[in-house]
Symmetry: C2
DNA sequence: TGAATACGTTAATGACCGTTAACCTGCTGG
DNA sequence: CCAGCAGGTTAACGGTCATTAACGTATTCA
């Protein structure tokens, strides 16, 4: 992991606050004045940094799917201990993202339809590729699992891993590490069950 | 299941179309004129049936959580074959809902924050009770699972089961029955894995 | 019959909000 | 030293949109 020591640029501040607000109240539910206020400048000042409100959302969503996709590809490339270890690595990466960037995860599947056509296409393409990464890996681990089933299972596990934002604010959570471990087990268990032969009645 | 033979009232038509539109483009992304047009009347005509746009969303969300809660309680009351069968019954009920009322499931965790305080409180309370229903049942099936873990697992499984709206339109799905069966297996597998002792390295 | 009621209509109102215009200030490099 | 740019400001414009007003029509029923 690359840890940054330098201060975030104004642009980055804006993106972060915009992500928080969009996640809280929805894209249309937040005004540019509020986003400005959140970083200490006022409404129209944002236009020195972004072409418009849409552009902020686009940059956020493209950034998210790109990051997921990049991380996934890196893990695939670095895989040296077989498909099982790779699957664990993918799961771990996704969990880190879900736990550390709740706002982005929320936006990711909530505001996609508010994008311009071209941006939406790009994001969807990245998402699809990311899914394919997982599907391929899952099918190597569980060859008996038919492809359409594997795809549904992958989507379902994404839903499972992305469920953390729905938890009442980090209150009585078992602690970040324990939560991550639990989610990991849940995901692995789901895949394993999908692949298992139907149990006799 | 109670099957209705009589035609839906205008009110119900409106609610259904509003649900579809809200799910597609978000509460703030849909105008009252569009909702009206979807049922063949125009904008302000809706005010003969609802106090306002907010009221429609409120009725939808309260209805959803109420329905989930009622169905859950009924299943608990009817349970006669032990906790395992009850858990299966709860899972089955939730899957039916997720597959048959995609729009409502989508709204359910996307637009909650657009509600008036009192309505939001009511919905959240119903949701919490529904979760508790599940948590109790899960803990009977897996007594070794600590309560906070069970709660996280239940939320995660909801995310898993609610993932169907994210699937590209009912295209290459394995068919409704097969999808339901697969989701069921995934959910059971996830719970089982949560309860299993940590596997030795 | 005829009054009330249910269910629409179109036009107007008023608020909100994204965006642009016009203007200001301080730093920075030639 | 001053030109130019980066990064702000407030005020104004224009469109969208929920809601209300005012009005019409058919059905019901006493």
């Amino acid at each position: 992991m690359v840890t940054r020591t330098d201060a975030p640029t104004r642009r980055e501040q804006i993106l972060q606050e915009a992500a928080r607000l969009f996640a809280e109240r929805g894209f249309h539910g937040v005004g540019v004045d509020e986003i400005g206020a959140a970083v200490g400048i006022s409404g129209p000042g944002l236009y020195r940094h972004f072409a418009g409100k849409d552009a902020m959302l686009a940059e956020l969503l493209v950034g998210i799917s790109g990051q997921l996709m990049t991380g996934g590809k890196r893990r695939v490339a670095e895989a040296q201990h077989g498909p099982v270890a790779l699957l664990d690595s993918l799961i771990e990466g996704h969990i880190d993202f879900a736990l550390d960037d709740r706002d982005l995860i929320t936006l990711h599947d909530r505001e996609l339809d508010r994008l311009r056509d071209s941006d939406r296409k790009l994001v969807r393409q990245l998402q699809r590729q990311y899914v394919e990464l997982w599907v391929e890996c899952v099918r190597k681990v569980y060859p008996e699992l038919a492809e359409p089933h594997a795809r549904v299972a992958v989507h379902a596990v994404f839903g499972l891993l992305n469920s953390t934002p729905h938890l009442s604010r980090p209150s009585s959570l078992p602690g970040r590490a324990a939560t991550a471990a639990l989610l990991h087990k849940l995901a692995r268990g789901a895949f394993a069950a999908a692949a298992a032969q139907d149990a006799p009645e």
